[in-house]
């Protein structure tokens, strides 16, 4: 004979729940703003910062209390956390939107066909005209050379770390990559300055800047490529091995294509990161108002250093037109990074088979 197990029964919970009306957030919001404005009038707050802050606090408080009273704790928590998360999102995007917007507004007046096709040769801060052409060429060459060197080395290092690296040597490489990640750009510049320029007795030139940029790019490329290559499922390597394919061909034909979009993203991140690098370039490349398309000899301009120059930080005088040109150069720099980004993404998307 078995004894029935009895669990004490409580009243069955009701399935319907009271909700606040759809207009509740609006009502709470309007009330909070009205209350804050009233307080501003009574307490003679100047400006609107305190009032805005008070309104936000009041809004959370009002809606929270109202929600607890009607809907219960769980829904009230949901509402408050939702508001906080949304507020954080807005706060985080404010600097981004402001920087981009400000540069677009300030830089747009400077943009013109002349601005893109002329150098600053013979133009002083007090004169209008001139452009970014010399700096655009310099940045393309310096960053291009740096990318051409750093991307292959970085991706091959990542392949080594994931596919072959075992033991102390691989751990050592990974450790130094992490250390390199923390090297300030001016220190990288100083290092190249000491060994390349002072050591060999050379004058500043474009490719010297590239060497510093390589040092700065490598840890970013290696780290991101390593993560992406690690994400390629082990099953795919096994499938390729089992077809009797040599390991290096598996890596070239299976692992890298599968990780391609991640590798592209990581590489772009590294390029964007160094395209705006200024300090090592001031040290290693200098600045030239003339067009110098030879990265192997002579001072060369670049967009970041041109911004610095046009603001009068080099000569001590920005003049009447320098600032506008600096904003223009900043806008061109951002557009350049954006264009490289879009082009590479398009390229990555166009390769590989369709799922539709």
């Amino acid at each position: 004979m078995t004894t029935a197990i009895s669990i004490p029964r409580t009243e069955r919970p009701t399935l319907n729940a009271k909700r606040l009306p759809r207009s509740a957030p609006g009502i709470a919001g309007l009330t909070a703003v009205a209350a804050a404005l009233t307080a501003r009038g009574i307490l003679h707050w100047t400006g609107y910062f305190t009032a805005g802050f008070t309104a936000a606090l009041l809004y959370v408080l009002l809606l929270g209390v109202w929600s607890v009273a009607v809907e219960g704790r769980r829904r009230a928590t949901d509402r408050i956390v939702g508001i906080v998360v949304g507020a954080c999102l807005i706060a985080a995007s404010i600097p981004l939107v402001m920087i981009l917007g400000y540069i677009a507004v300030k830089g747009a007046p400077a943009l013109s066909p002349t601005f893109l096709t002329h150098s600053m040769n013979g133009i002083t801060g007090a004169q209008a005209g001139g452009g970014v052409y010399h700096a655009l060429i310099g940045t393309l060459e310096q960053v291009g050379i740096a990318a051409a060197v750093a991307l292959p080395i970085g991706i091959l290092t990542a392949i080594y770390l994931v596919e072959f690296g075992r033991g102390a040597f691989a751990r050592g490489v990974a450790f130094f990559v992490d250390v390199m990640n923390g090297v300030p750009s001016i220190v990288a510049g100083l290092f190249v300055f000491t060994f390349l320029l002072l050591g060999l007795g050379l004058r500043p030139f474009g490719a010297a800047g590239s060497v510093a940029l390589v040092v700065l790019m490598l840890p970013i490329v290696i780290r991101s490529a390593e993560e992406m290559i690690r994400l390629v499922p082990h099953e795919l390597r096994e499938a390729s091995d089992a077809l009797g394919v040599p390991r290096w061909r598996t890596i070239v034909k299976v692992v890298l294509p599968t990780a391609l979009s991640g590798l592209v993203t990581g590489s772009l991140l590294a390029i964007s990161r160094v395209a705006g690098e200024t300090a090592p370039l001031i040290l290693l490349v200098g600045y030239s108002a003339r067009i110098n398309s030879d990265p192997l000899s002579g001072d060369q301009a670049s967009l970041p250093v041109m911004i610095w120059d046009q603001l009068g930080k080099r000569s001590g005088d920005a003049g009447a037109f320098g600032e506008t040109r600096a904003w223009g150069a900043a806008l061109v720099l951002i557009l350049l990074v954006l264009a490289v980004n879009l082009a590479a993404r398009l390229l990555a998307r166009l390769t590989g088979p369709r799922s539709w």
Binding site: A242, L243, V245, R249, P353
Partner: protein, 259 residues
């Protein structure tokens, strides 16, 4: 005529751990041999020693001999990648290459290895391999779409087509149906039956009905305890193993009276 496989006194290790011990077995040509046994008994590990995939695992090494028509696959002058082209493998989870089309997946063995052939030859290999894998009719109109768009059962048949496209002599299958629904399983099983005249097939399975349905001979592996090596207990014609096994452990396992 597909080859016979003679394994003699084979031990397989992961680092210091001996996972499989003292396996001696003769796999007959042109037959389906099923490896059955509880989880962790070393049957998958043993399977992977036949095409030298075991040593791909870090720490994996093998002692003993595996002879393919008399030639020791672990001899000093043997190229493991050549072994794997001769002894193909299908895995538990379908693993088509996601960046490649169905067409390219089938000829992946040649394509990845950098072997160039005329387009007509590749077309021919693709069609005959897909037909052999019973997949041609379902994918003929979308050969250049990605293999990831197929269902699980279709993906597994694509992987079988990929394995036979390099014209191996032996096919190893590591629980090829465990991720498939019954209908796809049926498709793969009937495929195995069709393929066995051209290939020596070794299949690991947890499904004893499947072993009984598709195999001519069955090998029962077991492991005494956690941390002990797996051993081959009994090997014989499938009907005998399932109805008149010599060992009590085998009778218990195939009769469902085993842990």
């Amino acid at each position: 005529m597909p080859p016979r496989i003679d394994v003699h006194n084979l031990d397989a290790y992961y680092g210091d751990f001996r996972a499989v011990e003292g396996v001696t077995i003769s796999v007959e040509p042109g037959e389906v041999t099923a490896l059955i046994g509880p989880s962790g008994c070393g049957k998958s590990t043993f399977l992977r020693t036949i095409n030298r995939m075991h040593e791909v695992t870090p720490g994996g090494r093998v002692q003993g001999s595996v002879r393919l028509d008399g030639q020791d696959l672990y001899g000093r002058d043997i190229d493991p990648t050549a072994v794997r082209r001769t002894v193909g493998m299908v895995f538990q989870r379908p693993n088509p290459f996601p960046t490649m089309s169905i067409y390219d997946n089938v000829i992946a063995g040649d394509k990845i290895a950098g072997i160039k052939r005329r387009k007509a030859v590749f077309d021919d290999i693709v069609e005959s391999s897909l037909r052999a894998a019973n997949l041609w009719q379902e994918v003929a109109h979308r050969l250049h779409k990605t293999g990831a768009s197929l269902s699980g059962g279709q993906q597994q048949r694509l992987c079988i087509a990929r394995a036979i496209a390099v014209q191996p002599a032996v096919l190893l299958m590591d629980e090829p149906c465990s991720a498939l629904d019954p209908i796809s399983t049926l498709a793969v099983e009937s495929l195995i039956t069709q393929l066995k005249s051209d290939y020596t097939i070794v299949i690991v399975t947890h499904n004893m009905q499947q072993a009984a349905r598709v195999s001519d001979r069955t090998a029962f592996f077991t492991v005494a305890d956690q941390g002990m090596p797996g051993r081959l207990v009994e090997y014989g014609p499938t009907a005998e193993i399932f109805t008149a096994a010599t060992h009590q452990a085998t009778r218990d396992y195939v009769g469902g009276r085993f842990g």
